[in-house]
């Protein structure tokens, strides 16, 4: 440990119970927001999850919820629930940093990102903006400008990335849910390393309006929560299912969904190659409990990962070409050198990657005729230590920054919905699984997560140093 500890704070309930208490008059939205702001003040020096805190605005928004309730006006399903967002989401009046120093001089956003606006309309209270890898390019959240974000489960270890602040803030019990984004695994990897639930829905399912881009055809907005029901409730509040809020909510039918009979395949091959023995061992109880098929292969996954890798570098390089020319020294060096290399790729490499996407999509389609859902580990290992540049995969030292998402990249490449769930490992470093559905089948991913929770196989646990104090 690095000598730092998470501060002991009062018990921290779920988003749904907060909203129920606020609506029933058992708590005010102001008292809830003030408590959450206190938790940020206590815990952020250890976590380094927040890059901005909007205390005055949050308290004013909370007062507005309390006033609406006092006047008998309707409030939303998330009334008084605090949340925070990765700092690539626009927040009206705030500069959208996207983890960079370069954008510190940009004009403040003129309006909230669509998802932020929807959450506020649902009554949720925005508390702050969260740390990330610069321009979302990385899996570590070791940001040269804003520092490393730490997993609350071991403050010497990374939270993962690129939405590291979003995962750490939820895992530490500072906020019950948060927003992030996932281009190659940036929701799923930090969810795994911080031991919380994460959702990367189907591509296009959540609005990217007002979200700083990385790779247009791969970018997804995503969510983090410590409770599965909270994840479902927030998803219901913001998803694009043709209606807003959702006309087919998931949150109220998790128990029913959990009772569904599901055909499950456990992905092997690429998705277990190089995995640490501890990860493979932790997955074993799942297959037995689910009567799942073992040795299921998703052909072409390695090449799909490579195609996503090339496409990200190429599009990222093109997106930032002007700044790379004019002020390359202002980038995080680790990100800059990846973007520069990407900028050197010929256009045809991107065309080749896109051509492969169609082929790999067909490969996945074939599997989904046999299975409702696929399951794979999220990362090859537990959270690496901060500053550790390499990790061992198949006996070879490979870059942590580039390879933590090896199992996540093929799936976002074809836009599949993936629910990241924490294996039930109290007192141990978190290990996560990906529950993978066919396009548009988010409800099924929730169904399997609920079933696994009922079986006691997945669950988010409090960080040990704050157990029984932060979480309840």
């Amino acid at each position: 440990m690095n000598g730092q500890n998470l501060h002991r704070v009062p018990t921290y309930p779920s988003a749904l119970s907060i909203a129920q208490d606020v609506k029933a008059g058992r708590a005010t939205a102001r008292s809830v927001a003030a408590g959450a702001l206190q938790r940020i003040a206590c815990n952020n020096p250890s976590l380094n999850a927040f890059t901005a805190v909007f205390a005055d605005q949050a308290l004013a928004d909370a007062d507005a919820v309390d006033a609406a309730l006092a006047a008998g006006r309707p409030v939303g399903p998330l009334a008084g629930v605090p949340f925070a967002v990765k700092n690539l989401f626009d927040v009206a009046g705030v500069v959208t940093l996207a983890g960079s120093k370069i954008r510190q001089d940009a004009a403040p956003a003129s309006r909230d990102a669509e998802l932020v606006a929807r959450l506020k309309a649902a009554g949720a209270i925005l508390l702050g903006a969260l740390n990330m890898d610069e321009f979302a390019y990385g899996f570590v959240t070791e940001n040269a400008h804003y520092g490393a974000t730490r997993t609350p489960h071991d403050l010497d270890r990374i939270a993962g990335g690129s939405s590291g602040g979003s995962a750490a803030a939820v895992a530490a019990g500072v906020v019950p849910f948060s927003l992030g984004s996932d281009t190659n695994g940036s929701v799923r990897v930090p969810a795994a390393l911080c031991g919380v639930y994460g959702l990367k829905p189907s591509w296009g399912r959540l609005s990217l309006g007002g979200v700083f881009p990385f790779v247009g055809s791969l970018d997804h907005a995503g969510l983090f929560a410590r409770h599965l029901e909270d994840l479902a409730s927030v998803y219901d509040a913001v998803s694009n299912d043709g209606a807003f809020p959702s006309q087919d909510p998931i949150a109220g039918r998790l128990d029913k969904l959990a009772s569904r009979r599901l055909r499950v395949g456990m992905l092997q091959g690429w998705f277990t190659q190089g995995a640490a023995a501890e990860v493979l061992e932790a997955l074993k109880p799942l297959a037995d409990a689910l009567d799942a098929d073992l040795d299921v292969e998703l052909p072409g996954a390695e090449a799909a990962r490579s195609a996503a890798f090339c496409l990200s570098a190429y599009e990222g390089g093109r997106l930032h070409l002007d700044d790379l020319r004019r002020r390359a020294e202002a980038f995080d060096p680790a990100v800059r050198d990846r973007l520069l290399a990407g900028a050197l790729l010929p256009d045809e490499i991107a065309a080749q990657a896109n051509a492969y996407r169609r082929i790999f999509r067909n490969s996945a389609n074939a599997l989904f005729t046999r299975y409702d859902l696929l399951v794979a580990p999220t990362t090859p290992c537990v959270a690496p230590r901060i500053g550790e540049p390499t990790m061992m995969v198949d006996g070879e030292a490979v870059s942590v920054r580039k390879n933590l998402g090896a199992y996540t990249q093929p799936l976002s490449f074809i836009g599949l919905p993936v629910l990241a769930a924490p294996l039930n490992r109290p007192g141990l470093l978190p290990i996560g699984i990906q529950i993978i559905g066919d396009q548009g089948c988010e409800a099924l991913t929730f169904a399997l997560a609920a079933k696994l929770e009922h079986l006691g196989l997945v669950r988010a646990h409090p960080p040990q140093q704050s157990q029984d104090e932060t979480f309840r």
Binding site: A303, A313, L340, P346, Q352, I359
Partner: protein
């Protein structure tokens, strides 16, 4: 170096990627000399490997189609 094609990039030997990077950077008006260069080259080498893997997968598929057609 203008109008670099995927084929030409893929056919470059790893040992020649440094020369490719210099020429391509000049064409793109990018500065990658000095301290940047080793890390950029390392990243470009990784991309070269990944791009070749995708190319090989596409070629394998073409081969399978031809074979299937012949049958």
């Amino acid at each position: 170096m203008s109008h670099v094609q995927a084929e030409s990039f893929l056919q470059i030997d790893e040992a020649d990627l440094s020369a490719y990077a210099d020429a391509r950077a000049a064409e793109m008006d990018l500065m990658i000399a000095g301290a940047f260069q080793p890390s950029v080259l390392e990243n470009l080498t990784a991309l070269h490997i990944h791009a070749r893997r995708v190319s090989a997968a596409l070629q394998d598929l073409d081969g399978s189609r031809v074979e299937a057609g012949a049958r």
